[in-house]
């Protein structure tokens, strides 16, 4: 570990602005389907966690990585479980990082920990957007998902957020065993009415090792039916488009101008820095090299084409993280220019904007895209500016993995 003071005087990094993500790994209880790193309870650890996160963010700021932050996202877990400490975290982060004017500052929350005074305090501290994990407005569905709140509490939370005046998004899950199309449509209608300007719609995935996985394996809960999920994804598109919230990504819908800027960073290859025990970061090769040299991390390999980006994902336990918030970057993945281009193309096709012909070319994916177009999964669209772009079709949204896989592995045959 180098003294940050040594590096503070180094020349500024490449101008690519870095977004900031903070992972708050605490929840009231674990949901049946969730495989993210988070701890139920852990009261005693919450304050020290905030200290550690602020320390870590402060450390990165010495590398000038946080001089022009376009978006700050505090996710979880359930950040609002921290209460006053979350306000302290937000204030601390805003003091540490230099946010761009009108930067997006999002806090994730869940119904059971959304209360009006906390929301007001967070807005006061600089938060301008909330993302609320509603998942469903149906009690039966919430029970199967193992959520610790009911539909009434979710409604209450949306009301608090709407009244707060801040913009908010809600998450919904479809394709849940036992969920009917009627109950799904009712949930969608309610979501439209509740004042959210952004909606995320996820078909339920049974992740390995989750309690839901165990229930499905034991035959206690039927496996999610992909056909039902398809119907519900289609219903979401219809209902939300009609409500003035068109899709802009596989799972994301928003009133125009209210797209999640932070998430768009992930889908457009922008750099981001993650703070917390299990946070992921991606930096440009130049940014990473500077950090790695000072920290003694593995340096980008000399490859042809050259390394373009590095992504590293911390894999620390909460306790280890608090003892040594800067211990190591976790596994580092270096992407050369070709891989970065393919990843951008793959992720770009998650969005309705799609990718440019030049991006497709750079990814070596033109042939794959032509094949996908033949299957009706992508098509060429013309933008208002007269630019041709590859974009995913209605069918393509449902069979997205075919698109992503074909584009990501497009280079395989030529490489191996």
């Amino acid at each position: 570990m180098t003294d940050p003071a040594d590096t503070a005087s180094l020349p500024g990094l490449a101008p690519e602005p870095v977004s900031l993500y903070v992972h708050v790994p605490f929840c009231v209880s674990k949901c049946a389907y969730c495989d993210f790193y988070s701890r139920a309870g852990g009261e005693a650890l919450r304050k020290p966690f905030v200290d550690a996160a602020l320390f870590e963010a402060g450390h990165w700021s010495h590398y000038d990585l946080l001089d022009d932050v376009p978006s700050l996202y505090i996710g979880g877990g359930t950040p609002t479980l921290l209460g006053e400490d979350l306000v302290r975290l937000v204030r601390g982060l805003i003091e540490t990082a230099r946010l761009r004017p009108h930067a997006e500052v999002t806090v994730e929350t869940n119904p059971e920990t959304t209360d009006a005074p906390l929301v007001a305090a967070l807005i006061e501290a600089g938060v301008n957007r909330f993302s609320l994990g509603v998942q469903s407005f149906n009690d039966d569905v919430l029970r199967i998902l193992g959520r610790c709140h009911d539909a009434a509490r979710a409604r209450e939370a949306t009301r608090i957020l709407r009244d707060s005046g801040a913009g908010f998004s809600i998450d919904l899950i479809c394709g849940v065993p036992g969920q009917t199309t009627a109950s799904w449509e009712a949930t969608l209608e309610e979501a439209v009415r509740c004042g959210a300007r952004h909606l995320s719609v996820y078909p339920l995935t049974v992740e390995d090792g989750t309690p839901l996985d165990a229930s499905v394996r034991a035959g206690e809960v039927p496996a999610p039916d992909p056909d039902d999920a398809a119907d519900m994804m289609l219903a979401a598109e219809v209902v939300l488009t009609a409500a003035g919230m068109p899709r802009y990504e596989v799972a994301s819908y928003a009133q125009p101008g209210h797209e999640a800027r932070h998430n768009l960073v992930y889908w457009t290859g922008g750099p981001y820095l993650g703070v917390g025990p299990h946070a992921a970061s991606m930096l440009t090769a130049e940014q990473y090299r500077r950090v790695a040299e000072a920290e003694g991390w593995a340096l980008p390999p000399e490859t042809d084409p050259p390394c373009a980006r590095a992504r590293f994902t911390r894999e620390a336990t909460l306790e280890d993280y608090m003892r040594r918030p800067l211990a190591d970057p976790g596994p580092v993945e270096f992407l050369d220019a070709d891989e970065a281009a393919r990843e951008d193309a793959m992720l770009g096709l998650r969005t309705t904007a799609g990718i440019t012909a030049a991006q497709a070319e750079a990814a070596g994916a033109v042939e794959a895209l032509v094949g996908l177009a033949g299957q009706g999964l992508v098509r060429v669209i013309e933008t208002a500016e007269g630019e041709s772009r590859w974009s995913t079709t209605e069918q393509g949204w449902l069979l997205g993995n075919r698109v992503f896989e074909a584009v990501w592995t497009a280079g395989d045959s030529s490489r191996s």
């Binding site: 995935t205 990843e343 069979l399």
Partner: protein, 600 residues
């Protein structure tokens, strides 16, 4: 040369998993043939696959020197044999090279079908059988019960059975004492012309084919011109020696000795198990009895998943055959699967092993079609055609009748499972012959059954329906006429030749229906609907549909997810590579084996 009176040639025979190879290990250690520090488990099973599965595939011979309680040093030749029914003929030849056998029975399992089968083979070879009750260190060992079973089931006196544990080494010395005392020394005529039995062979990259032999009469030494009688091959003996277990050349091998013979031949098929080695000039007139041509019992198509690997598969088969001439193969082409080989094996285990060795040792990805047997098709113009593949079935109009191989099957099972066996055999066109209580805990049941039914998942079913207690042995009794038809499978309206199979007429409808149902579960949903049909002679008898896939998308993909989800996509892609593209349809490998599992 060793004085024959000081030689004991013996084999260890046992049902699979009864601890044969571990006992052999202890014998090698006790006699200092292998020092403890060089010891690995299952020393004689040198193939990875043998060690992993705990089975013996290749016969082995090793010479150990043992100083008995009488103070005399004896030369013991331990001949380790495969235990599985697929290798019955090889085992019989190995036994022919011995005068005695240690019959190993697991003290916790008791007598099983292959215990009986091996014991009977040993009796037929006139061997002195020494019962050995193994694994007596286990808490559930019941030596008394096993002793009783040995006496009841095999009519071998077992009151003096050796009690041993291959694991702890207890009783191993007793076993060797019993071998020295009870196994007769070899008797032969040192002045008669050479007669030696070939009981196995293998290919050495530097020395060519090496045969394992047992000298019966006369002697053999390097430089001799000898003839392999059945093969009609004459060779100059390059070297003879003994295996300890490394090869140690000796001047000559005399009466009763066991060792190796470097033939200098490059073609393993010229060195046949069971053949007799004699002098090229003035040799023996009569060969040793018992030789026969090994014939494959089970046939399957092996196809490279990646069609470009066809030449590699051919090379691999050529190389593998050097060590295992019982594998036969001929090119086969399939509309669905492209170019591959129709291969014949001694049995299902043999088939599995060869496929696995081809994939591991030669880095191939192979697809196997459902195994089949050799059918004799008699045409209306009186011709007989042997067919090994459903695809070779002539037009039904030209067929007079078809014969298929039949077996005599012996099943040993605890009495409470007799009902389960009756049910299972009923499903497999079997005829009950008789049954006999060997003891209060073991019933021996005899059936006649077509071989084609035995390879239809019979063994796995037998194990699962009897919680693993049943054991099975069989022998081919001959061919019988059966009402057989070829059943075709169509995917999206097109016949897939590699999915065709031959089935008894009365079973065709039920199997066709079950198979289409099974395939519906196996063939993943494609982007379009895939009808699956079963047909006999163009008439559709069953139909199922794989509905089109509508949703396959990872919806959540943020910073922390990207690498993980991307790896998932890569894994999916790899999974697809393991599938066979049949037309526009991705068909998993297990689809081609599905017919074997239709009774589940």
């Amino acid at each position: 040369m060793t004085d024959p009176t000081l030689i004991r040639n013996f084999s260890i025979i046992a049902h699979i998993d009864h601890g044969k190879s571990t006992l052999a290990d202890r014998v090698l250690q006790l006699t200092h043939t292998i020092e403890d520090r060089d010891m690995v488990e299952q020393v004689l099973d040198s193939m990875d696959i043998e060690r992993e599965r705990g089975i013996t595939i290749k016969a082995q011979a090793v010479r150990v020197l043992y100083t008995a309680d009488d103070g005399v040093e004896y030369t013991l030749n331990l001949i380790d044999t495969p235990g599985h029914v697929d290798f019955t003929y090889e085992v019989s030849r190995s036994l022919q090279a011995c005068e005695g056998a240690l019959l190993v029975v697991d003290a916790t399992q008791g007598v099983e079908a292959q215990t009986v089968a091996n014991a009977i083979m040993a009796m037929n070879a006139h061997l002195e059988i020494i019962p050995l009750i193994n694994k007596i260190d286990l808490p559930s060992a019941d030596a008394e019960r096993v002793r009783h079973e040995i006496e009841e089931a095999l009519a071998i006196p077992a009151d003096e059975a050796v009690l041993a544990s291959g694991k702890t080494g207890e009783g191993v010395r007793d076993a060797l004492e019993a071998v020295v005392r009870l196994v007769p020394h070899p008797v032969g005529d040192p002045h008669a012309p050479l007669k030696a039995l070939i009981f196995d062979s293998f290919f050495d990259a530097y020395r060519g084919v090496v045969a394992l032999i047992r000298v019966v009469d006369g002697h053999i030494n390097a430089g001799m011109k000898v003839s392999l009688m059945a093969a009609g091959t004459v060779i100059d003996v390059e070297e003879v020696g003994v295996r300890r277990p490394a090869h140690v050349p000796v001047d000559r091998l005399g009466v009763g000795e066991v060792g190796y013979l470097v033939t200098g031949l490059k073609d393993t098929s010229l060195v046949k198990v069971g053949d007799t080695v004699t002098l090229a000039k003035h040799g023996a007139v009569e060969p040793l009895p018992g030789y026969r041509e090994v014939k494959p019992m089970v046939y399957t198509g092996l196809f490279p998943i990646d069609g470009d690997q066809y030449p590699e598969l051919r090379d691999a088969l050529d190389k593998l055959r050097l060590n295992d001439p019982s594998v036969i193969y001929e090119p086969e082409s399939s509309h669905a699967l492209g170019f591959g080989f129709r291969c014949g094996f001694l049995g299902l285990l043999h088939m599995e092993i060869i496929k696995e060795r081809l994939e591991r040792e030669f880095d191939l990805d192979l697809l196997a079609t459902a195994p089949s047997v050799e059918y004799h098709v008699y045409t209306t113009n009186g011709e007989m055609i042997s067919i090994h593949s459903p695809q070779d079935m002539p037009d039904p109009g030209t067929v007079d009748h078809i014969e298929e191989p039949y077996l005599k099957v012996t099943i040993l099972v605890p009495p409470e499972f007799v009902g389960a066996i009756m049910e299972l055999t009923e499903l497999h066109r079997s005829t009950f012959v008789n049954m006999q209580y060997l003891s209060a805990t073991t019933v021996e049941m005899h059936y006649e059954m077509p071989l084609s039914e035995l390879i239809m998942d019979f063994f796995d079913q037998l194990k699962s329906r009897t919680r693993g207690y049943a054991s099975l042995d069989y022998e081919v009794t001959g061919y019988r006429t059966s009402k057989l038809v070829k059943l075709d499978v169509l995917l999206a309206g097109k016949p897939v030749d590699a999915l065709s199979f031959i089935v008894h007429k009365d079973k065709a409808f039920a199997r066709g229906k079950m198979l289409t149902e099974k395939l519906r579960g196996i063939i993943p949903r494609q982007m379009f609907e895939v009808p699956i049909q079963a047909a006999i002679g163009g008439k559709i008898i069953a139909r199922e549909t794989v509905r089109a896939m509508r949703k396959d998308v990872i919806a959540k993909c943020y910073g922390g997810d990207i690498s993980r989800k991307r790896k998932l996509l890569e894994k999916q892609k790899k999974g697809k590579k393991r599938m066979k593209q049949v037309g526009t349809i991705e068909v998993p490998q297990e689809a081609f084996m599905a017919i074997l599992k239709v009774d589940d």
